[in-house]
């Protein structure tokens, strides 16, 4: 018991924080890439692509992230016979989860660009993808930044649930140390503090971006 001094607890939590950040990064990059595809499918002129992406978004926005993690960790392995590590399963689930939300956020940003911009693009003679690439996306990007940064905070917090399928990031490290020391308030308070230090600047940045946007538009 004595060996778990405050500084040792803190150092152990910080080491685990590295995995929280790595998992967040994986989810954000993977989810961002897939989310972009989802957003394009959602606004596609093709009805099947639209329906398919709608089902995808409904499922991942309408079910708990924890269940998605269970499905990835327990479900995929019984389905495929391949045993996934907790990191692999968490990466898959968080990527899917993140892509559904970012896809919707970006779809909203694209839709917020006035219809007239598409029409102006086609009047010049651009095809669908040229209109998208040269006219719509640059404008949508500006609108998308603030909510995207805001959602990054949700992703970081979401990684805490990976602890439940046995991935040792910050939350699981805290739970493990708690099992030994039983100083729950201290340990979960410290873990919360570390999350706060990571998330708060991002939240703040997102809010500032949003304010700046509402002044300029």
């Amino acid at each position: 018991m004595d060996e778990f001094t405050l500084s040792r607890i803190f150092i152990n939590l910080l080491i685990a924080t590295k995995w929280t950040l790595i998992l967040s990064l994986i989810a954000f990059i993977g989810g961002g890439t897939m989310g972009f595809v989802i957003a394009l499918m959602r606004i596609s002129p093709n009805r099947w692509l639209r329906s398919l992406s709608w089902v995808y978004v409904e499922f991942f926005q309408g079910t708990p992230l924890l269940l998605q993690l269970f499905l990835a960790f327990f479900g995929l392995s019984v389905l495929t016979g391949v045993n996934l590590s907790p990191l692999q399963a968490a990466s898959i689930a968080l990527t899917a989860y993140t892509s559904a939300f970012l896809g919707e956020i970006w779809r909203g940003s694209i839709n917020a660009v006035p219809q007239g911009q598409w029409e102006a693009g086609s009047a010049i003679g651009f095809g669908y993808f040229k209109q998208l690439q040269l006219i719509i996306l640059p404008q949508a990007l500006k609108l998308a930044i603030a909510p995207t940064v805001g959602f990054l905070v949700q992703v970081i917090k979401g990684t805490s649930l990976a602890s439940i399928i046995g991935f040792t990031e910050l939350s699981r490290a805290a739970a493990l140390i708690n099992n030994v020391t039983l100083q729950s308030m201290l340990i979960f308070g410290l873990a919360g503090l570390i999350y706060f230090v990571i998330c708060f600047p991002l939240s703040n940045w997102s809010q500032r971006l949003e304010k700046r946007l509402s002044y300029t538009s």
Binding site: G62, P64, F74, T159, A175, M185, C199
Partner: protein
């Protein structure tokens, strides 16, 4: 893929799943009700003009919004007994969910309150209502209507959050799934079905929210 699906575990354990779903709903409803009260009071304090009260509420909001719910749940369930406050799993679940929902709804309701024209407040005061009565009768209803979609979205997130309380052994829907999984190892069938039950709950909430909107916020249609 040579896996053969077998959903008999679901068919055989319907009552258990329903009981779990019922607890999930009950906890979510309680937490949302308490959380909304926190949100309305919190938004009142945030807009009261009192710097100290505003600061305290803002600190609460930021702490909750920038830490994972799992940590909040563990802090309350494992931490509070250290202060001599012993909570059952369900109590800790409802308390932590309400605190969590309260922080988000404080900011949502505040945004609604700030969208209300100052003239509305003056008109209420001019009739002779107290500041509190003006807030309750004149500011809050249209403020809620203005932020209703955001509020419904947060309600849905809160319901989905409840799955996490299975981790402190509150016997909700997800916990029931864990229990069945540990006995049958039909992981995919069980978790997929449970995910769909959550999805069904979410759709029911969306439907109810729409009916509520039609009934209570009819006036919003006519607003310019």
């Amino acid at each position: 893929m040579d896996y053969s699906f077998d959903f008999s575990v679901i068919a055989e354990n319907w009552p258990l799943l329903l009981a779990g779903a019922w607890l999930t709903l009950r906890m979510a409803l309680l937490a949302i009700a308490f959380g909304l009260i926190i949100g309305i009071v919190g938004s009142l304090l945030r807009t009261s003009g009192n710097r100290i009260l505003n600061g305290i509420v803002l600190a609460y909001v930021e702490v909750i919004r920038n830490t994972p719910y799992l940590i909040q749940l563990f802090f309350i369930f494992f931490g509070l007994p250290g202060l001599g406050l012993k909570l059952t799993a369900e109590q800790a679940a409802v308390l932590s969910l309400a605190i969590n929902f309260g922080a988000y709804s404080t900011e949502i309701v505040r945004a609604g309150v700030e969208s209300i024209d100052k003239g509305q407040v003056e008109a209420g005061l001019a009739i002779g209502f107290s500041k509190l009565a003006v807030f309750r009768r004149i500011v809050v209803p249209p403020a809620l209507a203005n932020v209703y979609p955001a509020l419904v979205g947060q309600v849905i997130l809160a319901v989905l959050f409840t799955s996490v309380v299975s981790q402190i052994a509150a016997q909700d829907l997800t916990y029931t799934g864990d229990f069945l999984n540990s006995r049958t190892f039909r992981s995919f069938e069980i978790y997929f079905t449970i995910a769909l039950i959550y999805l069904a709950i979410v759709w029911i909430i969306k439907g109810l929210a729409y009916l509520i909107e039609l009934h209570f916020f009819e006036f919003a249609k006519y607003r310019r």
